[in-house]
């Protein structure tokens, strides 16, 4: 007996609750934008500049004592958070100390780091400092620009590709789905105030790549069915295509999620935020390729007069489904 995530012949009407699902997404997207402006993102030092010091000790972390030790150094804004992780040993206690970018310095000086380390060692002599990272305001400013450029660049490149391979309506559907995924991810990061750094940008790009992957599979089938069923209404063609590919969509998301959950639980705290972003993005991306991208295509309509269309040539992959 085989495991079936989806019965063989589904006939789910994905447009049945179009108003609820699409509307819900619009509301969530608006909420994300509001959250982003209201709460902002918890930018890491990559984007804001500053220094993070990771401490590792065999005795329990006393955030108050750490703070009391560091505050007299007059370093401005200091954040201290204890880190918990299932991969830690029993007597391993980890904290992250973050210091704002210092006036008149790019990356922090050896002397400042030395003072902080000495102050903390006075509180707890067993502390070690497994990592110290410092980014100057100059670089962090550039990194923000680069990050925005990367995400928009990726979306634009994909849209151009989809536009070349499909009709423009599909390209537009895809871009709306991508903006939806990226938007909701940023919204969630604003809401939960998880550290947003360069790795999260990498996660956003992965989400973009994954989400488009799902969307393309549905579109590809829709293109095929549009030719096969010339008179079937567009809404039915899209529904049929989504149903036919549903099993695959859920299988792939399923295997990817399995791997990601393993990473989320066992991968350690250093990349947890990154893996969390991708995991969330895969869920949202799967949803958006079923409920968002198609809806946009349906709203825009597709030219159905295929008889006049010249058969595409010159691409071995294009002929297959003709």
């Amino acid at each position: 007996m085989r495991l079936r995530l989806v019965p063989d012949n589904t006939n789910i009407n994905f447009f049945g609750y179009a108003k609820a699902t699409f509307g819900g997404s619009v509301i969530l997207l608006v909420a994300s934008v509001v959250l982003f402006f209201a709460m902002g993102l918890n930018f890491g030092i990559d984007f804001k500049g500053g220094t993070t010091i990771r401490t590792d000790s065999t005795s329990a972390v006393d955030v108050g004592a750490y703070r009391a030790a560091v505050t007299p150094l007059g370093l401005g804004d200091v954040t201290i958070t204890e880190v918990f992780d299932p991969t830690f040993a029993d007597d391993q206690h980890v904290a992250m100390i973050r210091i704002q970018a210092q006036e008149g310095q790019e990356s922090v000086t050896a002397e400042t780091i030395g003072r902080i380390e000495a102050a903390l060692l006075a509180v707890d002599p067993t502390i070690t400092f497994p990592s110290v990272e410092s980014v100057g305001p100059k670089v962090s400013g550039e990194l923000i620009q680069k990050a925005i450029l990367a995400v928009t660049g990726a979306i634009v490149a994909i849209v151009i590709y989809i536009w070349l391979r499909f009709e423009w309506q599909f390209a537009l559907g895809a871009v709306v789905a991508l903006v939806h995924d990226v938007g909701l991810t940023i919204g969630l990061f604003s809401l939960l105030q998880i550290k947003f750094d360069l790795a999260i940008i990498a996660a956003l790009l992965t989400i973009v790549g994954y989400s488009i992957n799902d969307t393309v599979v549905v579109f590809d089938r829709a293109r095929e069915n549009l030719i096969k069923y010339k008179v079937m209404p567009l809404i039915d063609v899209l529904n049929l295509s989504a149903n036919e590919t549903l099993s695959r969509t859920l299988m792939t998301s399923g295997t990817t999620l399995i791997a990601l959950i393993a990473l989320l639980v066992l991968g350690g705290d250093v990349i947890r935020g990154f893996v969390f972003a991708i995991t969330w993005g895969i869920i949202v991306g799967t949803y958006s390729s079923i409920y968002i991208a198609k809806n946009v295509v349906l709203m825009l309509g597709v030219k159905r007069d295929w008889s006049k269309e010249k058969k595409p040539t010159g691409n071995q992959f294009m002929d297959i489904d003709a």
Partner: protein, 553 residues
């Protein structure tokens, strides 16, 4: 019907075997690494029993390429430095002053007396006492211009001279600035490399980034602070004439002079002539040594030009003090006892033995042409890196097993085929990473785990399609064939778009993020290969052997 030409079969099998063979060394990473280090050492001429033993740890006929572990996995230090290229402009203008003075002084009749005016450090302002001679002076100073020594700047001259009444302003031309920047950066790269090599760490990576930045990554460095200690000081050594001694840091001085503090006597300042007699650039050697009283010192030797300049100056100024200045601090200001002809000398100060050794190393490696400002620095301890490797391995293993079980439950025998392909896929990723010497980072491991999840996608697309085709097509062979054919366009479109994002990520990102882009991109390529060719080959082999009348996917 369901057929792959023997030639193709061989090609597919060979590709897999070569890829897997390339990945094998990573299974015993430590041994192969010691082997590689030992082989490199023996090739460079050093050889001893321990090295030979290490070299024998891994058979030399096997591939020995390894995946480079990024700093976040191996531990080490990362620095991004900005070279203050504009520093050099000031030094160049400083060097130009004597020439300008001499050429104008030679024509005293027409231009009158020449004096230097206060100015920005990157321009030189001189005033002549006879304004009518301005045109003549302009002509003379312009005569000092040299063609710019660079490909892009060829044809233009190195300085721009303007006259405003009796005041001449001399500045570097745009082309000369560009050429200077380029030279400064190349020089800085070279000197940083020499200094880090002198510290003797393995595989430091020193790369230029953009117009004026240098990225330094040293695995095994204890901290970024230590690394800064190796390369941080400019070590600009100059020998300057002393005008007077003072205790006032803000003593008013002429435009040609400057006030510098003493290194070891707080509150003591020296008024020095700005233009050095000789600079550290003209040193050919520096060694730690001891002075006649047995205190640590640094002995040095000049090259012939330096030796001549130093000899001439000491001959003319017996009895006068001169200052040895290191990075804008006066180390010592001895009085010239006699003419020093040989071009060698000794620097004394209150050094410890360690300080004199360090100073000698820095002087030997050469001075940095300009100051470095550190924009970004990261230290990752080796334990944290090892923890990350362990966690990543665990996650990859668990993820892999879960996916394998899931695939078998869903597709039975075909799932097994997909799993074999998946295993080969992971092997191929490591093979290619080792082959191109790519760097594996923590996000890179995440990329591999993500690929494990996504790699089966192409197979899922095919299998689902075969299921559909089985309902309509004539016989299982045809269904399999159609399944592969018809799934291809979706597989291609889906993977090309993901590949595009990986490419953008690789271009924009650096360090760990680039590592992620590398494994993700490679994973896409190898997974398409294994899904389209390897599983297909497995299915064809199985099909030809069994000839089943019906299949269940």
């Amino acid at each position: 019907m369901l057929h792959i030409s023997p030639f193709r079969q061989v090609l597919i099998v060979l590709t897999c075997l070569v890829g897997l063979a390339l990945a094998v060394p990573n299974l015993s990473y430590d041994r192969v690494e010691r082997h590689n280090d030992a082989v490199a050492a023996i090739e460079s001429g050093r050889s001893n029993e321990a090295l030979e033993a290490d070299a024998a740890l891994w058979p030399s006929f096997l591939p020995s390429g390894l995946v480079n572990l990024g700093l976040d996995l191996r531990g080490g230090a990362h620095l991004l430095a900005e070279v203050q290229v504009a520093d050099v402009y000031a030094a160049t203008m400083e060097g130009m002053w004597p020439d300008v003075r001499d050429v104008l002084a030679a024509q005293r009749d027409t231009v009158g007396f020449v004096t230097r005016e206060e100015s920005e450090p990157d321009v030189l302002k001189v005033k002549i006492s006879n304004p009518e001679g301005a045109e003549q002076a302009l002509e003379l100073v312009r005569g000092l211009a040299r063609p710019v020594a660079s490909l892009t700047g060829a044809g233009s001259s190195n300085i721009v001279v303007e006259a405003d009444g009796p005041v001449l302003t001399i500045a570097l031309s745009e082309a000369e600035m560009a050429a200077t920047d380029e030279r400064t950066l190349q020089q800085a790269l070279e000197i940083i490399r020499r200094r880090i090599d002198a510290a003797g760490t393995r595989e430091p990576s020193i790369q230029r980034q953009g117009a004026d930045r240098i990225l330094i990554q040293v695995p095994g460095a204890k901290s970024a602070q230590e690394l800064k200690g190796w390369i941080g000081t400019t070590a600009q050594l100059t020998f300057q004439p002393v005008v007077s001694r003072t205790s006032d840091a803000n003593a008013p001085v002429a435009a040609t002079n400057e006030v510098l503090p003493s290194l070891d006597q707080p509150g003591t300042y020296y008024v020095l002539e700005k233009t050095p007699v000789v600079t550290g650039e003209e040193l050919v050697d520096a060694q730690p040594s001891f002075d006649q009283n047995g205190r640590p010192a640094v002995s040095f030797r000049f090259n012939p030009t330096g030796a001549r300049k130093f000899g001439d100056y000491t001959a003319e100024n017996v009895g006068a003090p001169f200052a040895i200045v290191l990075d804008d601090e006066v180390i010592s200001a001895p009085t010239i006892q006699s003419h020093i002809p040989g071009g060698s000398g000794i620097i004394t100060g209150s050094f410890s033995v360690e300080e004199s050794t360090n100073l000698a190393v820095l002087l030997r490696a050469g001075a940095l042409p300009a100051e470095l400002v550190f924009l970004e620095e990261r230290t990752i301890g080796p334990e944290l890196g090892q923890d990350s490797i362990d966690a990543g391995q665990m996650a990859a293993l668990v993820g892999m097993i879960a996916v394998v079980v899931f695939m078998v439950l869903s597709y039975g025998l075909f799932g097994v085929f997909a799993n074999i392909a998946l295993t080969i896929n992971v092997g191929l990723i490591f093979g290619v990473l080792s082959l191109i010497g790519a760097t594996l980072t923590l996000p890179g491991i995440a990329g591999i785990v993500l690929t494990i999840g996504m790699a089966v996608d192409a197979n899922v697309l095919v299998f689902e399609r075969i299921r559909e085709e089985l309902k309509t097509a004539k016989g299982p062979a045809r269904a399999i064939e159609l399944g592969y054919e018809r799934a291809l366009s979706a597989i291609m479109d889906a993977n090309i778009t993901t590949l595009m994002t990986a490419a953008i990520l690789w271009l924009v990102g650096s360090g760990p993020v680039r590592g992620f882009a590398t494994t993700l991109g490679l994973g896409i390529l190898t997974s398409v290969f294994t899904a389209i060719f390897v599983t297909r080959l497995l299915i064809v082999w199985w099909f030809q052997r069994r000839r089943p009348k019906t299949i269940e996917v």
